[in-house]
Amino acid sequence: MSDSDNSILFDSLKGIQLEGVFEGSIITRCRDDNDSIIFSDNLKISSSEGIFITEGFRVGFELNYNKKIAFSRKIEAQWYEDFESIEYSILISEDIMQIYDDGQFSDAFPYTLNKLNTAALFLEDYQYGINHLEFFKGEMLRNPVAVVCDGVIVADRVVIDERIDPVFYDCLIVGRDEKEDLSVSFEPYMNIKKSLTDVKYILILGIEELKL
């Protein structure tokens, strides 16, 4: 399901920049070495001051000594004065969020694994690559976030199938269409073939860190 009521607040590629204070479910993709993503319920855009996010949650991978580790951090308040460091910010419509919320409270799969701390499941990197998919084959993990090509997938759960490919359930997908326009959709499930898709990373959000 896709919905045209989503608001593209900022898109560096298409030159979209809505000014004002926005509240709701907002995904911001950063343009940095960590390919990080920020989830927040509020965001302020001002042409003079840049993008201001309070009470956000930033996730991605960072280099720590000689290995890359998944991280998730609460952002108390952060100014991005330089618009160059943000690729896009999109406010997801209430209708899509309603369906996404219903999926989160589905009781069809009660025995899903939760990770206490944010952990890497997969990272495509020539030097620091990580692949725990085989280890979790047949398991169902809660709160996965993935970056695939230009898009972001936020799902309720992910299952690693027999071919060691991830299958995301009840997922929000933010991405660009053939005209490079940003769009958001909800899918009950989505199978990603690693061999055919440019999966940059998959991480599992830690429930304890979400509580912080």
Partner: protein, 410 residues
């Protein structure tokens, strides 16, 4: 003509194999009635519908003599008010474990889907669906329970805290703790549970005990998007118990030895049931329809309300009357039942096959039956069953059977 004769012979043969189109003369809450009410009763249904739409809380007395179709009316209401959760109780069957039995009936009618929806709504009201960072539901069950307790202990101040805590625990665990959901669901459905199961859920009692069923009934009805209609059949049973016993009767066992001189065990039991019915009426959004046999019973009930809780007296609506069949009704009823019978034996062609639309009976016989029974539906069905049974038994010629019934009435 030959075609007609063939069809008539075929129908008689089918009936003679033992297929009586009129099978039961008493309607029950367990077996669904497919036939709708007769046209003369359309106004009654319209009036009830309008009262139900305009009021959230009321007691609506329906008065009708024995066999006038009061229980059948329940099925007609259930079909007509399908967007309400309409459920039936008979005071005889819910006498003991009153709230638990009513809760069981309520849940059975409501179904699992709407039940889960209401529970989800309750938890949302208690703050369970708060999102962190715009996307993630991180549930703090203890915080949700605390919010729920603050809300409910104020609203339901007359209910003891242990009962409220049990209700909150059961609901929040079912909605928010996937590892204990199955056990919590059993509790919600009113299953008997042992101490070990209850302690896993951090609950004191299952729904059989105390007022647990009452608080859940109240929470579910008050938060249900569907309106709720409780149909209490033969409500005067409660008055009969309350009537003073005949002094002339000799009793081997004197109940006053156990219960004191003023009240008999029946009186005490009826008082208890009456008090519980009054508690039910405090549930917002619960519409109660009661059936009674006479206006005198209604007056007695009103007196009882006057004594116990006069405020609730204003909730009792003006009674509606369920009259006996009119003459046209018997013809309509007979035709509808026969059509339903043809449908059940997969011979729908019979509906148009006969010159006499009331075949194998005729208009005169039906009219005679109507006059003999004064239009009482149960008495009419009893006679129709008898006629068809005689036809099946083949003791006499069918014409002579019909003549016998026509003459009997004359």
């Amino acid at each position: 003509m030959i075609l007609h004769e063939n069809s008539e012979a075929r129908l008689l043969n089918i009936i003679k194999w033992g297929n009586n189109p009129f099978k039961k003369f008493v309607s029950t809450s367990e077996i669904k009635e497919e036939l709708d009410l007769e046209k003369s009763r359309d106004n009654l249904i319209k009036n009830i519908k309008s009262i139900v739409k305009q009021n959230n809380n009321f007691i609506l007395p329906i008065i009708g003599s024995v066999g006038s179709g009061k229980t059948h009316l329940f099925w007609a209401l259930k079909n007509n008010l399908y967007y309400y959760n309409t459920f039936y109780i008979s005071l005889e069957s819910v006498y003991k474990k009153f709230f638990y039995n009513i809760y069981s009936e309520f849940i059975e009618n409501l179904g699992m889907g709407p039940l889960k929806f209401v529970i989800n709504q309750l938890c949302e009201n208690w703050g369970a669906l708060e999102k962190r960072y715009g996307f993630f539901h991180v549930v703090d069950i203890e915080k949700v329970k605390q919010t729920a307790f603050e809300q409910l202990s104020t609203k339901y101040y007359e209910i003891d805290h242990e009962t409220i805590i049990d209700a909150i625990n059961g609901i929040t665990i079912h909605q928010l703790d996937p590892y204990k959901k199955i056990e919590a669901e059993r509790w919600l459905l009113g299953k008997l549970m042992d101490v070990k199961e209850l302690s896993t859920l951090n609950l004191s009692y299952d729904l059989h005990k105390g007022k647990n069923a009452y608080i859940l009934l109240r929470l579910l009805i008050e938060n249900s998007k569907l309106g709720t209609i409780l149909f209490i059949d033969d409500f005067e049973k409660i008055i009969k118990i309350m009537k003073p016993e005949d002094d002339g009767l000799e009793e081997v066992f004197d109940p006053s030895w156990l219960y004191g001189s003023k009240l008999s065990p029946n009186d005490i039991a009826s008082e208890k049931v009456f008090t519980k019915i009054i508690q039910l009426q405090k549930i917002e959004g619960l519409r109660v329809i009661i059936t009674l046999k006479s206006i005198e019973s209604l007056e007695q009930i009103k007196k009882k309300y006057q004594n116990l809780d006069s405020e609730l007296l204003s909730m009792i609506k003006e009674p509606l009357f369920l009259n006996n069949f009119s003459e046209d009704d018997i013809f309509e009823f007979y035709k509808n039942t026969m059509n339903s019978f043809y449908d059940s034996i997969e011979c729908n062609e019979f509906t148009q096959a006969f010159e006499n639309p009331y075949y194998p009976l005729n208009k005169l016989t039906l009219k005679s039956i109507f006059e003999h029974t004064e239009g009482n539906p149960r008495a009419i069905i009893k006679i129709l069953i008898k006629i068809f049974n005689e036809l099946i038994d083949d003791e006499e010629n069918f014409d002579s059977i019909l003549k016998k019934y026509e003459n009997r009435v004359k």
